[in-house]
Symmetry: C2
Subunit: 338 residues, 2 copies
């Protein structure tokens, strides 16, 4: 098995270092090849993601990514040119973002509320398609548009995955959209879900307005099992759910091509965090949990569970002191298989 | 002074009844005319908002609305045909949604975190413009689009209001958008804010990605003073902030035409809540606080403050038992001016 590793910018390389060492602890035979993509490479070569690089990456079984984004490069250049480019080129239409409160993890909600949910976010449609435009830019008469593009094909394949995931969890699927305002896209989502639900009679389907979902996620998060939603709504919801699950330091994410024609990409939900980069203080747990998602996806569940258990034990037993990136990695690895 | 009252659907009439009685307690001379808009009128007449009704409403000093929306009418029909129609026709480009934790109100966040912020949401642009379309609807090849329309004119006038509001609060303005993905609209918002900030040197401006804002709102809400944001992002953010401020039962909202050519519309953030309608258990506090926003907007600050103080005293002193709509209204009114 061959993994393409993209450490990226900021704290990316720091957390990826720990993630790869943890991966090798449970699966020493897995090959890793490194790809230097991000701000440094862009400054040196002027390139974001060269077609030949993408081709090389494509011939791996999975991709492990740290973070992309740098304050010295105009906002969005690297994110759109590398991260989103890869999601679209590799048809990563399924974005899985699980949240589960772990004993010992920080809690932002009052009371002893447990969260155990999975967001199945669409990854290749919605307002992420780059279909925007500008007219009279820089004048007082400027008009800027952004087009959300949604297809029955795209919504169907995403929802099917969500139904499948719900079927093996608590059989509860919440479709989150905004049909009362976004009439065309919302109606497409609603009809697609209604049609599919006939094929999954055991899955209870609930439709919820995205604004109401924001509220229910913090007041009654236990009502959610699987949430299926659009690309942009999923982006907002999963930053919120990651906060509920103990912060972005613990949130991992899988970008998957459901047809398995292309390798999946596994990455922490957090960004490159330039403010703390280079200081060795970033929490590598989310990157390590991204390895867990990757191993599950590759069918290496025994190895995945070994790391997952080590992370949970580490979090349940850690003290209040803050540890370095290296120390956290070491502590988790020391618990793997022990 | 003449107020147009639109009780609307579901719990709307129940909470509006309490709100108007509270209004009359502090300002008995204010005239009210009632407009029967919503599901019942739609079923009887087939009309949503007739042009002549809109014209009549326009000739009032302000509008007080309960809630619009009914499960027996196709989703979005009443919301788009009445609520959004009115926002656009009356050019309600400024939507103000304040959140302030009140002693005694329910808290969803752990720890003793205080929230005191104002969301200034754009009300007439973004994805709310109804610029969507459907192609091959109902077939496996369906394409649905939604267009977010943003103008320099629209963003400028919204941001100017946000700067003005920040200047008389804690001088901190957070611009919330998603320029790393929504490149055209995001860039317009960023440039407009940067240009305006030169005119408000005392206001500290911060740009935050909307996904990050979701996280920071629940982890470090005290960092926010005024948030300026787009129509859709504002919709999601304010359901979240209303949860942080004690729930939608306490969240009020002002829709304002900054030029003051049209009357403002004041309404609770909550919807028509058909599940509890008719039982007399809806909390009228948000509707009563909408009256507070309305009185402030009309320059009747003494009257506004009297009700505001009564609500705060009521919440600080109420017991754990749940009261009826009528009882809550009575208790608040009994504290007005006492
Ligand atoms: C960096 C950005 C382009 C990305 C997104 O918006 O999808 C990120 O926020 C995420 O959630 O993975
Ligand atoms: C009812 C709906 C159209 C409305 C909106 O989306 O603006 C509501 O959610 C709000 O926030 O006032």
């Amino acid at each position: 098995m061959k993994i393409a590793v993209i450490p990226g910018d900021g704290i990316g390389p720091e957390v990826i270092n720990q993630a790869v060492r943890t991966l090798h602890k449970v699966a020493p035979a897995i090959d890793t090849s490194y790809f230097d993509l991000g701000a440094r490479n862009f400054r040196e070569t002027g390139r974001l993601l060269a077609p030949e690089t993408l081709d090389e990456i494509r011939h791996h079984d999975a991709i492990l990514l740290g973070a992309i984004g740098d304050p010295t490069v105009p906002a969005g250049t690297l994110e759109r040119g590398i991260l989103l480019e890869m999601r679209f080129a590799l048809d990563h239409h399924i974005n899985l973002r699980p949240t589960k409160t772990m004993p010992g993890a920080p809690r932002v909600l009052a009371g002893d509320v447990n969260v155990d949910l999975l967001v199945v976010r669409e990854g290749t449609e919605g307002p992420y398609t780059g279909n925007g435009g500008g007219l009279r830019v820089g004048t007082p008469h400027e008009v800027a548009t952004e087009v959300s593009v949604n297809t029955r094909f795209g919504v169907d394949r995403l929802l099917r995955e969500a139904f499948e995931r719900a079927a093996v969890r608590r059989q509860k699927l919440t479709i989150v959209h905004k049909p009362n305002v976004l009439a065309f896209a919302g109606s497409l989502w609603t009809r697609a879900a209604d049609d599919l639900s006939a094929l999954y009679p055991d899955v209870e389907v609930d439709h919820m307005l995205v604004d109401a979902a924001m509220l229910h996620l913090v007041t009654t998060p236990a009502r959610f099992d699987v949430i299926a939603t659009d690309n942009l709504f999923g982006d907002l919801i999963t930053d919120l759910t990651s906060a509920l699950g103990g912060g972005v330091g613990l949130a991992a994410s899988a970008n998957i091509d459901g047809s398995r024609r292309n390798p999946g990409m596994f990455e922490p939900v957090h960004g490159s965090a330039p403010d703390i980069a280079g200081r060795g203080v970033a929490d590598p747990t989310a990157a390590i949990l991204s390895v867990v998602l990757m191993l599950h996806h590759l069918g290496l569940s025994r190895e995945a569970n070994a790391i997952d258990q080590a992370v949970q034990d580490h979090i349940a037993s850690r003290g209040p002191e803050s540890c370095s990136t290296e120390e956290i990695g070491e502590r988790i690895r020391s618990r793997v298989g022990s």
